[in-house]
């Protein structure tokens, strides 16, 4: 598989502020790649550097093996879907979609045909003659997609394109976007702060924080084997317990919980001493006479799930998620329960 976008130690500084500290990423062709992180982590800056709206302070970016340093945005074979869509307000939907084709020098009939095809793809053929202001948010979003895809870019950049939509629409668009990426075979680089979006659509995700890439991997990788506290905390819900690391060998650590219970778990670090252990709430189950003793503090009813907060012997609290099945026995607050931490459920994190 060839590499579509190769980012090599990219640094971006604004005066004394460093937005990106030497980011390196290799994004494969045909990949749905997501840059995920909280606001201010540098993900949008990186996207804008690929598009050419921001210069690069140090390092380089290659597009299919060619450096794109010094190329103006209009000379880069990438297109962008903007956060607020940036549809040209004085042009019809049709003219918006055909704009890039016109700039590439396609003839009017070719433009009409291609734009029509694009609008059909996003189910907006009936709206070709409307102005963007006459469309709903979701429709505008799809026009922005059609406009960016019409010139058949090698790479499509998407800057939080779903953030302006309401929840229902956002969920529907996730499926559509993923489908679109698979159908067109274009490399998508998707920027979002929404981990659910990232997990559901991406082939691979780069979790970013404070101008650095923390971890790159599939959704399963970053959810189940986070490398550090930031990633474990940012992706999904987790319990972070302080533990004593006794030994680490071959990526397996022997740790002691505050209550004295010993546990073997996978390790992202080989340092000994006090470290954090991540345990996903849904990987803990209640077992009569389980190995870890706890006292139930609260029970929260969530519909399909139940959320329990239990206090361990050492005084730390853990959250537990149970499926609300018919056979589930709901413990009452104050009752003593035994917890079973499934094999592979816990992971020792680097700080």
């Amino acid at each position: 598989m060839s590499i579509a976008v190769d980012i090599r130690s990219a640094v971006k500084r604004y005066g004394t502020f460093t937005a990106l500290h030497g980011v390196s990423l290799a994004i494969d062709d045909n990949e749905f790649f997501t840059l995920l992180g909280p606001s201010g982590c540098g993900k949008t800056t990186l996207l804008r550097m690929i598009a050419g709206f921001e210069g690069i302070t140090d390092g380089e970016i290659l597009l299919f093996g060619q450096t794109i340093a010094g190329l103006e945005p209009n000379h880069r074979p990438v297109n962008t879907v903007f956060q607020q869509y940036a549809l040209f307000p004085h042009m019809t939907v049709q003219d918006n979609v055909a704009f890039g084709l016109k700039m590439k020098g396609l003839s009017a009939p070719e433009r009409r045909a291609r734009a029509g095809q694009m609008l059909e793809m996003v189910h907006l053929s009936a709206f070709a003659d409307r102005l963007p202001s006459q469309l709903s948010g979701g429709q505008q979003q799809r026009v922005a997609l059609a406009r960016a895809l019409a010139p058949a870019p090698k790479v499509l950049l998407l800057d939080e394109p779903l953030s302006a939509l309401d929840l229902k629409l956002r969920q529907a668009m996730r499926v559509e976007l993923k489908q679109l990426q698979e159908d067109t075979g274009i490399t998508f680089i998707f920027v979002t702060h929404d981990q659910e979006e990232a997990l559901t659509m991406s082939d691979r995700i780069a979790v970013m924080s404070a101008g650095r890439v923390q971890q790159v991997g599939t959704a399963r990788d970053i959810y189940e084997a986070p490398v550090n506290r930031f990633v474990a905390d940012f992706i999904g819900e987790t319990n972070l317990l302080e533990v004593d690391v006794q030994s680490v060998s071959n990526g397996v650590a022997q740790v002691t919980l505050p209550g004295g219970h010993r546990l073997a778990c996978s390790a992202a670090t080989d340092a000994l001493g006090r470290h954090h252990l991540s345990i996903r709430p849904e990987r803990v189950s209640l077992v009569a006479g389980g190995d870890v003793q706890a006292v139930v503090q609260r029970v929260v009813y969530l519909g399909s799930d139940l959320q329990l907060v239990a206090r361990l012997e050492g005084g730390q609290e853990v959250q537990i998620r149970l499926q609300n099945a018919a056979r589930t026995e709901v413990p009452s607050p104050g009752s003593h329960v035994g917890l079973m931490i499934e094999a592979g459920a816990a992971r020792l994190l680097a700080d």
């Binding site: 598009a51 709206f53 209009n74 962008t80 940036a86 040209f88």
Partner: protein, 307 residues
């Protein structure tokens, strides 16, 4: 309790609506006193008979309009032909005002763009600098301009001192001087509306266009200009209309050859030589012309918007 004081269902709603009428009174009074009354007075006067020492006789007459459009010979007994004198003055005024508008646009657009793209904190300073000259009376500014460009004024003397020219440039009493006066008088009216439009302009549009392979020139022509067009049109209207009726700049900086509508009208109301009905008629014709032009533009714009 609280609901007892005002019944929100009927009385409250009507109460608010009932307030609108009285609140509009000041507006209607303003429009009445400063718009309807003067224009009405002007319309009535244009159809009256002139009195020889200025003023009017209350007798209906079409003489003012007749004088504007028709030539009946020196003694008024020849068959009427079209009178060109005043139409020529109108025509000269229109192109002078048009040229002044164009110059204001060419200077004002980059200036407005520059200000609107500064950091928000410093924009206020730039706008302040643009408006400072307007704290000084227009008459004084125009006279000062004349002083600056006259034969032995600072401009000519400076140019001669550095040896760029041998004799003074004849600037006063030329079209150039009038243009300079109009430009200087009305530039902010071009800058401010364009500034407002550019300030609202979302530069993501420019980025989107560049992303779709448009070069800078195409971005300006196909994206920026159409989107900020309302500001440009407003600026052009705000410069063109007062330039058309201006009399200070043409009067003080121009000569007999640059006689414009404003001066023609002013002359009719000066001393005992004036002709009030004729002055009123010229004003009415000017106003009709401007309104016609604006209506044609509005119709074109409405048509263009639908496309």
């Amino acid at each position: 309790m609280a609901g007892g004081a005002i019944d929100p269902g009927t009385k409250g709603g009507e109460g608010y609506r009932g307030l609108v009428g009285p609140l509009l009174v000041p507006t209607w009074v303003m429009i009445g006193i400063f718009l309807v009354l003067p224009v009405g007075l002007m319309a009535v006067y244009s159809f009256l008979t002139k009195e020889f020492r200025g003023g009017v006789e209350w007798q209906f007459s079409l003489a003012a309009y007749d004088q504007f459009f028709l030539n009946r010979g020196l003694f008024g007994d020849e068959p009427p032909t079209l009178e060109w004198t005043y139409i020529a003055i109108f025509w000269r005024s229109i192109w002078q005002a048009g040229l002044a508008t164009l110059i204001c646009l060419l200077v004002g657009f980059p200036a407005a763009w520059f200000i609107a793209t500064r950091p928000p904190a410093s924009r206020g300073v730039w706008l302040f600098l643009i408006t400072i000259p307007y704290w000084v009376n227009l008459l004084i500014r125009t006279v000062s301009l004349k002083f600056l460009i006259r034969d032995n004024g600072p401009l000519n003397e400076a140019l001669m001192a550095i040896g760029l020219i041998d004799g003074p440039l004849p600037l006063v009493n030329t079209n150039l001087a009038v243009q300079l006066g109009l430009f200087y008088s009305y530039l902010p009216f071009m800058v401010l509306p364009i500034y407002a439009a550019v300030e609202r302009y979302d530069f993501a549009y420019s980025e989107a266009a560049a992303d779709l392979y448009a070069n800078r020139w195409v971005v300006l022509r196909e994206i920026v200009l159409p989107i900020v067009k309302p500001g440009i049109v407003a600026g052009c209207i705000l410069v063109f209309i007062p330039s058309l009726g201006a009399f200070l700049a043409p009067d003080l900086l121009g000569g007999a050859k640059t006689f414009m509508i404003g001066s023609l009208i002013e002359e009719q109301f000066k001393g005992s030589l004036g002709n009030w009905p004729f002055g009123a008629a010229v004003s009415m014709i000017l106003m009709a012309l401007v309104m016609l032009a604006l209506m044609v533009y509005a119709r074109q714009a409405a048509k263009g918007g639908g496309q």
